[in-house]
């Protein structure tokens, strides 16, 4: 039982890190190939405690996307990026099942940061 739990913990960690690496590589490639005008990087953060769900990882429930555009981005621009990710059903489910509960979009130049409760966007499953 304990052995299985330890094994699952390491498997989850590996899955999360693999997904994060895939995301960052795709974002980097898309930026290099001029498919997207901004550079994005995802990292794991603590997230919001009030957004937690059963599969949330302890102290690692935040999926933060840092946006580098060379200029401070407006709230609407960040909102658009966040809503696009939230609008992708499979993406949201993948994030929730991997233990993330909060999606955060942050601008590196400005001071604005937006966050979404991922669980709210899996209504079709409940």
């Amino acid at each position: 039982m304990i052995w299985e739990k330890i094994r699952n913990w390491f498997t989850d960690l590996r899955d999360r890190n693999r997904f994060l690496r895939e995301w960052n590589n795709s974002a980097k490639l898309a930026y290099i190939e001029e498919i997207i005008p901004i550079l994005m990087e995802a990292r794991i953060t603590v997230g919001s405690l009030e957004y937690r769900h059963e599969f949330s990882k302890w102290m690692a429930g935040g999926f933060r996307v840092k946006v580098l555009s060379g200029k401070p981005m407006t709230r609407d621009e960040l909102l658009e990026i966040g809503q696009f990710i939230i609008g992708d059903d499979v993406m949201v489910r993948k994030l929730v099942s991997n233990g993330w509960d909060t999606l955060e979009i942050y601008d590196t130049a400005g001071t604005i940061g937006l966050k979404w409760q991922l669980k709210k966007y899996t209504h079709s499953l409940n």
């Binding site: 995301w23 498919i35 994005m40 992708d88 499979v90 489910r93 993948k94 929730v96 099942s97 409940n126």
Partner: protein, 134 residues
């Protein structure tokens, strides 16, 4: 007489100390029990508030087309507006077959608003069957 009184006092003092500590430890125990009950109750409320269906576990290994997602993020709206104009059923007033196909494609286009890969498929069909040049 004085010696006797002193002996009585010495006897009584330890009893009093033991009783005091007993009371203190019982109170502490009660506080701990109350705190444990509060914590357990709080946990129960949380789990009721944040229920995510177990079905979501199956999406853990699902493949997300990240390249398509990034491509769609900034380029889907442009292609959507172009396609919307080009495949509009009103552009084929004299051909009922093309009107039907254009209607189908418009419905598909509305569903695939944020998916550039699907929109490119629609574009190919429009080029082949409706003869539209992009």
């Amino acid at each position: 007489m004085n010696n006797l009184l002193a002996a009585e006092i010495i006897k009584k003092v330890p009893d009093a100390i033991i009783n005091k500590w007993l009371v203190v430890s019982i109170v502490e125990l009660l506080i701990i029990i109350i705190l444990v009950i509060i914590v357990l109750k709080k946990k129960k409320v949380k789990s009721e508030d944040f229920i995510v269906s177990d079905d979501i576990k199956q999406y853990k290994d699902s493949n997300v087309d990240l390249n398509n997602m990034f491509d769609s993020m900034f380029n889907a709206s442009k292609l959507h507006s172009t396609l919307k104009k080009k495949i509009h059923p009103d552009r084929f007033p004299n051909d009922p077959e093309k009107i039907t196909l254009a209607n189908e494609l418009t419905a598909k286009l509305n569903e695939a608003q944020n998916n550039i890969a699907k929109m490119k498929e629609i574009q190919t069909i429009a080029t082949e069957k409706l003869g539209i040049k992009f």
